[in-house]
Structure formats: C-alpha cells, structure tokens
C-alpha cells in the first residue's frame, strides 16, 4: 500500500462564498496502476460529499472530463502513474472556463449550444432509399478521426479562444463535428454550413495553439479539421 495526496476543488455555490481546495490522503494498492477515477472513488469513500460525474468508467461516455494536475482529461482512462508522477500528488479541478455547478461538475450548456449551432445531423432532402444512403469505402474513410468524438469537452475547455468568447467561438469539439458533416458525402448542405461559419468568431478565432490536440483523450486532431474547414471556406469564398 502507498499514500496518494489529493487536492480537490470544492465549491457549492448555494453554500460557499468562494471555492476552496480540499486536501485528502488515500491509500492505494502498490501492485497495480489505478486510474484517477479509482482514486477519486477512494476519496469519495472518505468524504461522500465530493461531487463529480462518471458513468461508463472506460472512456466512452465522456462524463468524467476534468482538469487533472493542470491537464484536461478523462479521469477513468488517465493512469495515476502518468497523472501524479513520482510526486504521487493529484490536483483535481473542474474543466476550466465553464460555470461550476458543484465541485468537479460544470455547466456544459454553452458547450452544447455551440455544438447545436453546427447542426450535427445529416442534411439531405433527397427521398431516402429503401435501405440506406450508401458511401464508397473512400468516402467513408474521410470520416475517420472525426466521428469518434465523445463530446467530453476536454478540448473545448482547454482552448483560450473558447474561454474568452464562449458565446461566439464554436470551439474545437464543435468544429471537429462540423467538419465531420462537411466531409460526409451524404450531406447536401455544404454551402449553407460554410456560410454560417464565415464570421470573425465561429472558426477564425482559432489561433492554432493546439491545446485541443494535446488533451483529446481519443487522440483526435481538431486543429487539422479546423484547417480543412478554413480551406473549404477559402475555396468557396474566393
């Protein structure tokens, strides 16, 4: 058994005048590497008032996105050894830039509003065929690296452009999904989708710092997708 020091962001807006950091020590088994979520569960056993979201515990649902030792990630698939390092200390904060509902739970409304703006569904007014709208393997391949996004918000909440303009900049997750539909051979609304992105904020507030790429727990590359949207805008607009 070994000790892990955890510092957890605590804030209940209904009771607390300001947030505080709570320090806890938990004992973990030394024979296997735990995930950060496992350690959080041990901390919750000590203090049941600690609040966070979690569901699938295998990096699929995207519920437990949080800031782990300064880096956004999913607690359920971030190994303790990688997050805490040799200092064996964890600092857990909510995803930055969004209002805190309680402790590690943030209000994702702005994130979802931006996602909704890009119309995340196929637009095709042709009568549907009897079975399904077919794609060639090459057309389908264009969606790889795009459709896998689980909307955990780790990327968007690590982006300063989203922190400063969360009501106008769509953010990396929304733009990755926007390109997922722009690249889809079955979608017929390319021109309309691009027209809605050609303002100074929605796409062009991205400064290409690639925080999104470095934190994506699924290994996706929103910056590349944003670059492809820009290229499509250039092709359409010039």
């Amino acid at each position: 058994m070994s000790q892990i020091s955890i510092s957890i962001y605590r804030y209940n807006p209904e009771q607390d005048s300001k947030p505080r950091m709570q320090s806890l020590e938990v004992e973990v088994s030394g024979d296997r590497d735990l995930m950060v979520l496992d350690v959080l569960e041990l901390a919750k056993a000590k203090d049941p008032s600690i609040t966070y979201r979690r569901s699938c515990r295998e990096g699929v649902c995207g519920s437990d996105g949080m800031n782990i030792n300064g880096v956004n990630g999913l607690a359920c698939i971030t190994p303790l050894s990688k997050a805490a390092g040799p200092a064996r200390k964890l600092v857990l904060r909510p995803l930055p830039g969004l209002p805190v509902i309680r402790d590690l739970v943030v209000d994702l409304s702005q994130f979802y509003e931006q996602f909704e703006k890009i119309k995340p569904w196929l637009i095709n007014d042709e009568p549907p065929p009897a079975i399904e709208r077919l794609q060639s393997p090459e057309e389908r391949e264009k969606l790889d690296g795009l459709y896998e996004c689980i909307l955990c918000a780790c990327c968007t909440t690590s982006c300063p452009s989203f922190w400063w303009n969360p009501d106008k900049f769509i953010g990396p997750a929304g733009l990755l999904q926007s390109y997922r539909f722009l690249a889809d051979s079955r979608d017929e609304a390319t021109a309309e989708r691009l027209a809605e992105l050609d303002d100074p904020f929605s796409v062009f507030r991205c400064r290409g710092i690639m925080n999104c790429v470095s934190v994506c727990p699924k290994g996706l590359n929103p910056t590349r997708a944003i670059g492809k949207i820009r290229n499509m805008l250039v092709e359409q607009g010039t």
């Binding site: 400063w164 303009n165 303002d199 100074p200 062009f204 507030r205 820009r230 250039v234 607009g237 010039t238």
Partner: protein, 123 residues
C-alpha cells in the same frame, strides 16, 4: 457586448486572408530591403536614399506600410475583443475596448500617413 462591428471586413475569411497576405508582403519587403543593404559593396546614407528613390521601391514600400496597418488592425481587433470585454473588465468593458480601438485606429492611420509622407514626400 463583443460584436463584429469593428472588424476589418466583417468576414472572418476576409480578415484571415488579409492577415496572411499582408504578412507575405511584409516578409518580401524586409527580404528586399535586407538584400539591398547586404548586397551593396559600400552602404551609407546616399545608398539608402538611392534604394528608396526608385519608383518601384516607393510603390512597394507604400504597399508594405498599408499591409502593416491592415495586419496590425486585424491583430489588435482580435486581442481587444478577446481581453477587453465585460467578462474581464465588468460593465466598463465595451467602453474601454472601443476607446482602445479608436486610439489604435488613430495611431495606425497616423503611421500610414506618416509612412506615405516619408516614401512619397518631396523632402
């Protein structure tokens, strides 16, 4: 509230293209002047004057000053709309941003006119 009203072209694509194109013009101008200085066997005030006396160089230099002003405005607009807003500065955010933008615009226009006088002035 932050809006598009004071952006250079109201279009994200236009501003983005202006910033990239102006950067290329400035790079070419710096390279051209640097070559002019380095390639000269002897360099002093007469050579410097001669370099800028040629009409093509004067045209290129004025385009470079215009590019500098456009490039600066797109950058300043981005920075001011990121940091000088209600979220950072409270209710006074919009007024502070507009005043800063007006000051930067006046400075940019002054630089443009000053640059034109230097490159095209008779003195």
């Amino acid at each position: 509230m932050v809006t598009n009203a004071t952006s250079l072209g109201r279009s994200g694509l236009f501003d983005w293209l202006v910033q990239r194109f102006s950067a290329l013009v400035l790079l070419a101008w710096i390279a051209w002047v640097s070559i002019g200085v380095i390639a000269a066997a002897e360099f002093g005030y007469p050579q410097w004057r001669a370099l800028f006396a040629a009409v093509p160089m004067q045209i290129f230099s004025l385009i470079a000053v215009l590019s500098l002003c456009a490039h600066a405005w797109v950058g300043v607009w981005t920075v001011t709309t990121d940091y000088l807003n209600e979220a950072h500065l409270g209710k006074a955010g919009t007024a502070i941003r507009l005043l800063t933008q007006i000051a930067c615009l006046l400075l940019t226009l002054s630089c443009l006119i000053w640059g034109a006088r230097i490159f095209w002035g008779s003195g």
